[in-house]
């Protein structure tokens, strides 16, 4: 089956609009705590999730909203959950890091790497009770250094568990560049754990759809787990209000908060030799500078623009679709916010 770009785009745009609305509510203070968006990784999610059927399961990380939404969880329930309402998806008990839908066999966790064991367990249950069903684990590149994720790739390999391990590699774990924290090569690592690896750009929804489709077919047929390694960007950085992004976007306001402490510290009497101090400063500055030069800032990496470009040959249908989705999201907001929180 060839990829249907229109429906992939619809999924992605719906998710994007939903998460942008979420961001607004977060900035308005209606959503508490941290907020990690999946914006920028929509092509990976859409390309994988649209292959899933009833009985397939998902194990999600701290960035689980997009996958839940695209899998078919009611956006109204999601939004109510973010707002902490009693009639939210989890009764207001979970929040965006702990989204659970029993109906969709989908579970999230804020513990980095725990998606590995979780997907393995879902897949084990599938082996017994739902032949042909699979489990997908979505996680980041940083998670690849968490032991339990590696352990579960090995476990899936030897038990031939139907797991698709999807690494959404944005090159970062919060403010840590993966190239400075990850040795070797992730694909070789997966293979060294007995899991075949496929590596590709995650910005191209059609490409993801094709690759994931082939992989999932093999997994369904009982061949064991596969590792998909897909690159992506996170436009907002790690979470909403992310400090380095704030500095880059509004240096005049944000830089002083950081610079005063730095200046005082670097000039303090006791401490390392000047060369070490400068190395330290370079270290700090480079994380801001890297953010400035970040692929995050390059719209070419936006999976939505990428897909949209391919659809512009039919501008009427495109406009219709986009208008409709915008209306849908506005409707959702109205339904949810129109009600009084309990």
């Amino acid at each position: 089956m060839p990829s249907d770009l229109w429906s992939l785009y619809a999924l992605m745009l719906k998710s994007r609009l939903f998460e942008e609305a979420t961001a607004k509510l977060w900035h308005e203070g209606l959503i508490s705590g941290e907020m990690h968006l999946g914006t920028g990784e929509e092509a990976i999610i859409a390309g994988v999730v649209s292959h899933l059927n009833d009985g397939d399961a998902m194990a999600l990380d701290h960035r689980g909203t997009a996958a839940m939404l695209m899998r078919g969880v009611d956006p109204i329930l999601l939004l109510r959950e973010f707002l902490g309402y009693k009639d939210g998806l989890c009764g207001g008990m979970g929040g965006h890091m702990h989204l659970f839908s029993k109906e969709h066999l989908a579970a999230s966790s804020g513990i980095v790497g725990s998606e590995g064991p979780a997907a393995a367990g879902f897949a084990l249950a599938a082996q017994y009770s739902r032949p042909g069903a699979i489990a997908v684990a979505f996680f980041g590149d940083g998670a690849m250094n968490q032991g339990m994720l590696m352990e579960s790739m090995n476990l899936a390999a030897i038990w031939k568990l139907p797991v698709l391990f999807v690494c959404k590699d944005d090159g970062w774990a919060i403010t840590t560049k993966s190239e400075s924290s990850t040795g070797g090569d992730l694909n070789e690592r997966a293979r060294g754990l007995g899991v075949p690896a496929l590596d590709f750009e995650g910005c191209d929804a059609a490409k993801v759809w094709d690759t994931a489709g082939t992989a999932i077919e093999r997994i369904r047929s009982g061949e064991g787990p596969i590792f998909l390694h897909a690159r992506c960007v996170h436009f907002e950085g790690h979470f909403l209000g992310f400090q380095p992004i704030r500095i880059v976007r509004d240096p005049l306001k944000e830089m002083p908060k950081v610079a005063i402490g730095l200046t005082k510290s670097i000039l303090r009497l006791d401490g390392a030799a000047l060369s070490e101090r400068l190395a330290g400063l370079k270290n700090v500055m480079s994380s801001v500078i890297t953010t400035l030069r970040d692929p995050r800032r390059d719209p070419a990496n936006d999976p939505l623009l990428h897909t949209r470009a391919a659809l512009q040959s039919d501008p009427v249908r495109l406009k219709e679709l986009e208008d409709q989705l915008e209306k849908d999201i506005n409707n959702i907001l109205k339904i949810v916010l129109g009600e009084v929180p309990s």
């Binding site: 399961a57 194990a59 939210g88 998806l89 989890c90 009764g91 207001g92 008990m93 979970g94 702990h98 659970f100 029993k102 066999l105 579970a107 966790s109 804020g110 513990i111 725990s114 590995g116 064991p117 979780a118 997907a119 393995a120 367990g121 879902f122 084990l124 249950a125 599938a126 017994y128 009770s129 032991g147 339990m148 352990e151 579960s152 090995n154 476990l155 030897i158 038990w159």
Partner: protein, 336 residues
């Protein structure tokens, strides 16, 4: 009536449940050997070995339970939860709450625990109080074959995660495996009543959270669990000869705690001695005093617990773990 060894009873109840319920699967390191009797009856699909990857397979147990299985996940020893307790702390224990009560984790985690055979501080811990501190976990510690079977059945029927701890000194198969099977030159202080005893012909569940009064007594209530229950009973006999009447209450489940029975017993005697092989501070022994005070009761209170890392030297070990002598001394002190 039939008699059985301790672990044999737990396995037998498990087998009975497995015959009734195809959703029950058992896995853990070396389980094809450790549960070989289950393996030849239920086949290698339901009784599996794992790599030394506790985080992976314990975590997998959680979601396997969520997706419809009833996994019995086996840890080599309770001490090794250190490498994987996240699966309990942040997942098994919290899923029901996080999902707004919509999704439960019917998993049994089975682990040998306890000391008294010379394996040293990383292999002889109890840790039941440590685990019970986490809201959302049920923690079971049987002290007799009949309880091992009945509580196993109840654990398998429970809708939330249950940690089922078997004291190695009661377990014929663990002791045989860990070194006594190959030599007659070592002896352990094994409580006969705990290691082997009467069992029903068909297993019935013993409700979780119900303590059992093993002995009535009017002067002091000794509250205990696991092997220490038998130490307490032995001590009570000695004390009886001295004219002290000591009751012995076997908690059987740490969490939920049978507060009613506890308070009733303490109210009658006015004296509470906790005998707890787990570490003394910030755990079960303190909790019992809090429960009593919260109930508006007052009592004289003492405890005999493990205070330090468990020494390897067998003599030091015997002194570090709760023993009959320490119990008697404490009771006599309470009677002053």
């Amino acid at each position: 009536m039939k008699t059985m060894f301790f672990t044999q009873a737990a396995d037998d109840a498990l087998a009975q449940a497995m015959a009734d319920d195809p959703r029950i699967v058992v896995f853990g390191e070396d389980i094809p050997l450790v549960r070989r009797d289950l393996l030849v009856r239920f086949g290698p699909k339901r009784v599996r070995g794992t790599p030394i990857s506790e985080s992976a397979f314990l975590g997998a147990g959680v979601t396997a339970a969520m997706a419809g299985l009833r996994p019995v996940v086996e840890m080599y020893m309770v001490d090794f939860f250190g490498v994987c307790v996240d699966a309990l702390l942040n997942h098994a224990a919290k899923t029901e709450a996080f999902s707004g009560g919509k999704w439960t984790v019917p998993m049994v985690v089975r682990a040998p625990c306890g000391g008294g055979y010379g394996d040293g501080g990383q292999h002889e811990q109890s840790l039941w109080g440590w685990l019970a501190h986490i809201p959302g976990l049920t923690v079971v510690v049987p002290s007799t074959p009949a309880d091992a079977g009945g509580l196993m059945l109840a654990s398998l029927q429970n809708n939330g995660p249950v940690i089922f701890l078997e004291h190695k000194l009661l377990s014929e198969s663990w002791l045989e495996f860990l070194g006594s099977g190959a030599r007659k030159t070592v002896s352990y202080d094994i409580p006969a009543e705990g290691a082997k005893g009467e069992v029903p012909s068909k297993w019935e569940p013993i409700p979780l959270g119900e303590a059992a009064l093993r002995r009535t007594g009017s002067d002091v209530t000794i509250v205990s669990l696991g092997v220490s229950v038998h130490r307490a009973l032995e001590a009570a006999k000695i004390l009886e000869a001295e004219g002290i009447s000591a009751g012995v209450l076997d908690l059987r489940t740490v969490s939920p705690l049978d507060k009613t029975t506890l308070c009733k017993a303490v109210k009658q005697t006015g004296r509470l001695l906790v005998v707890d092989e787990d570490y003394e501070t910030f755990g079960l022994s303190g909790e019992l005093s809090a429960v009593v005070l919260e109930a508006g009761l007052s009592c004289k209170y003492a405890r005999v617990c493990t205070q330090t890392t468990i020494p390897y030297n067998r003599n030091l070990e015997d002194q570090a773990l709760p023993n009959v002598e320490r119990i008697c001394t404490s009771v006599r002190q309470l009677m002053k």
